[in-house]
């Protein structure tokens, strides 16, 4: 694997530009130095001179319609290289789903656990990038250190930070909120290479509780991944610079990062997707594939209780208004 000459970020096969600093990757050295001044493309079928067709995205013959295959833009859809094994098996996930439905608290309908119909419990290895990088981070913030008349004083500084194992969701199936809650609880060290028998056969590789799980394809192209990773690194930097800000309280923390030596691995992270039905409506919940105690989902609301609460709030507001009106008289 080669690295970008400007920022030392790892380049992948087919990259035309560096994903971080956009430095073009030099074309592979060509065999013939003396390129012809002009080149006439001829149709492979009928021999007529042909032109590039915007519809076919390839040179196409105007006479016989034959299209020539050419190199496509190097912005491929990605596939996962690593996967984290499921440590929660189906039986555990199902038991956990039932106990979760039963313990949904006062807001959920009392009959939820009894009437909910579990329709499917599917193991899914969802797509994410695992990013490592170092970055020079320039920061600016307000803090209470050195404050005079105002409670805040501006400060600025620079610090070099290392980012390890930043997980950037690439899933279309799970929402951003669901991914955010799932990611901190994965044991990233347990990752095994996909389609790599040598790694799978190592004795310390954890056994997979759901080896048949569907692996989500990366629905985001490589060029779009750059923006996701950059935003994730900036979000992490906003937290990591806080110990470097003088004072005890701060606000308006701003960061500018010059990322270097970024490496990105595509990983598939385990989760059980629970689809259930309650009184005709479909709901879903996610059970963490390595931590059965973590279940994410919005259960149905008990509308009767909600209506009562709204009625009480309206009455209380009316009573308050009446009390104020009476006092002012």
């Amino acid at each position: 694997m080669t690295a970008c000459a400007r920022c030392e970020t790892a380049l992948e096969a087919g990259d035309l530009r560096c994903a971080i600093c956009a430095l073009p990757v030099p074309a592979a050295a060509r065999a013939s130095v003396a390129a012809p001044r002009a080149q006439v493309l001829r149709c492979g079928d009928c021999g007529a001179a042909i032109g590039f067709s915007a519809e076919a995205q390839a040179p196409r013959c105007g006479f016989c319609g034959h299209a020539m295959a050419i190199e496509q833009p190097s912005d491929p859809l990605e596939v996962a290289q690593w996967r984290l094994p499921f440590t929660v098996d189906r039986a555990t996930a199902e038991a956990r789903a039932r106990s979760w439905l039963a313990g949904r608290g006062w807001w959920a309908p009392r009959t939820l656990a009894r009437e909910a119909v579990l329709e499917a419990l599917t193991p899914l290895a969802w797509a994410a990038w695992r990013v490592n990088a170092v970055a020079l981070v320039a920061w600016a913030a307000d803090s209470d250190a050195g404050a005079e008349r105002s409670a805040w004083a501006p400060h600025a500084g620079r610090v070099e930070l290392a980012f390890r194992d930043i997980v950037v969701p690439a899933s279309r199936g799970l929402s951003a909120r669901e991914c955010r809650r799932l990611t901190p609880h994965y044991a990233l060290a347990s990752a095994v290479a996909i389609d790599d028998a040598a790694v799978d056969a190592t004795p310390d590789a954890a056994p997979d509780a759901a080896p048949d799980a569907a692996i989500e394809s990366f629905d985001v192209q490589r060029s779009a991944a750059r923006h996701h990773a950059q935003r994730a690194i900036e979000a992490a930097a906003r937290v990591l610079v806080q110990p470097h800000i003088p004072g005890r309280r701060y606000r308006n923390v701003r960061v500018a990062c010059r990322i270097e030596r970024q490496t990105t691995a595509r990983v598939a992270l385990p989760a059980w997707i629970l689809a259930y039905r309650y009184r005709g409506a479909a709901y879903r919940a996610i059970i963490h594939g390595q931590r059965p105690d973590l279940v994410i989902g919005r259960p149905p609301l008990d509308r009767g209780k909600l209506a009562w609460l709204v009625a009480i709030a309206v009455l209380a507001a009316l009573a308050a208004v009446a009390a104020i009106a009476l006092r002012s008289r």
Binding site: C7, C21, P24, A27, A54, P154
Partner: protein
């Protein structure tokens, strides 16, 4: 072999492969002369291919014309499209490492209690206190670091930098390494602006971007006296061809044709639509009448009766 033409009117220099034309696709000037190819034109490194053909460009144009405001000349809807041409426009793609040192006065709000003395209706002195928000300015010097990427600057004589900017953004994820097969059969303009001038224009555009980023970067409730000095290094400037549909719209016999440019990849359209004078005058007159009526009502209502 592609023939090279130079427009005597706007200076565009174009290479045609398999196409002969009597007029310049940019300015429709017939003053178009064949000339020998320039000695060492830069070789494009990348190309963004046209997505969709002339029929799609016409459909986008029709939608654009249909969506113009009420003030636009009504004859535009029936305008005749002249010389719709797909041109690969030369440009440079610039990126660099940018280090910026800045100084600014950062405004931090604070609340102060203000006391003032007034006399009431009976002439007695009364003391009023109220809370006011004031701003304290503190000097801040710091640095901003990052990369400047995806700055695209026109290297064409026929398509000005501002016109290309109006067509941006191009989806650079669809960038391809240049191959003659990608532009064959299309008009490709030669790189007719000096690379050094384009580098300077790119730098200026990059500095503008950094200025915008800095304004968002500064802490505090407000700021003033922002000054910055940026050092760029590790610059890269790569020749690229971008797809543009250029066309002339003939909507009135007594007016020159309206030039419209369309992004050949995304379909974004840029062009200045001529407005109808009497419609604008009518709208201004109507607005003035409404304002006058409101003022009259207020004045009459406020007058002692």
């Amino acid at each position: 072999m592609p023939a090279t033409f130079a427009c005597g009117h706007c200076g565009a220099s174009l290479g045609f492969a398999g196409v002969r034309t009597a007029t310049c696709p940019y300015c429709a000037s017939p003053n178009f002369v064949e000339r020998p190819a320039s000695a060492q034109p830069p070789h494009p490194a990348f190309v963004i291919a046209f997505a969709g053909g002339a029929a799609r460009a016409r459909a986008q144009l029709a939608a654009w014309l249909g969506g113009r405001s009420w003030f636009a000349d009504a004859r535009l809807a029936h305008a005749r499209v002249e010389d719709l041409r797909g041109v690969y426009v030369p440009a440079y793609l610039y990126s660099a490492v940018a280090d910026t040192e800045y100084t600014a006065a950062i405004g931090e709000h604070y609340t102060a209690t203000e006391t003032r003395e007034t006399r009431d209706a009976r002439g007695e002195l009364r003391r009023e206190t109220r809370q006011v928000t004031r701003t304290e300015y503190r000097a801040l010097a710091g640095r901003h670091v990052g990369y400047v990427t995806d700055v695209l600057v026109s290297a064409s004589q026929g398509l000005a930098a501002a016109e290309l900017r109006a067509l941006e953004p191009y989806e650079l994820g669809q960038l391809r390494r240049y191959a003659p097969a990608l532009v064959t059969g299309w008009i490709a303009e030669e790189f007719s602006r000096d690379a050094e001038a384009c580098r300077q224009a790119s730098r200026d555009a990059a500095l503008d971007d950094i200025g915008l980023a800095l304004r968002k970067f500064l802490p505090g409730d407000s700021h003033s006296d922002l000054a910055w000095r940026t050092t760029v290094r590790w610059e890269s400037l790569d020749p690229i061809l971008v797809p543009v549909w250029v066309l002339a719209l003939r909507y009135r016999r007594d007016r020159p044709a309206l030039r419209v440019v369309i992004n050949g990849q995304t379909g974004a359209i840029a062009g200045r639509v001529p407005l109808t004078g009497w419609k604008v005058a009518l709208a201004i007159g109507g607005l003035a009448l409404v304002v006058a009526a409101i003022v009259a009502l207020v004045v009459r209502g406020g007058a002692p009766g």
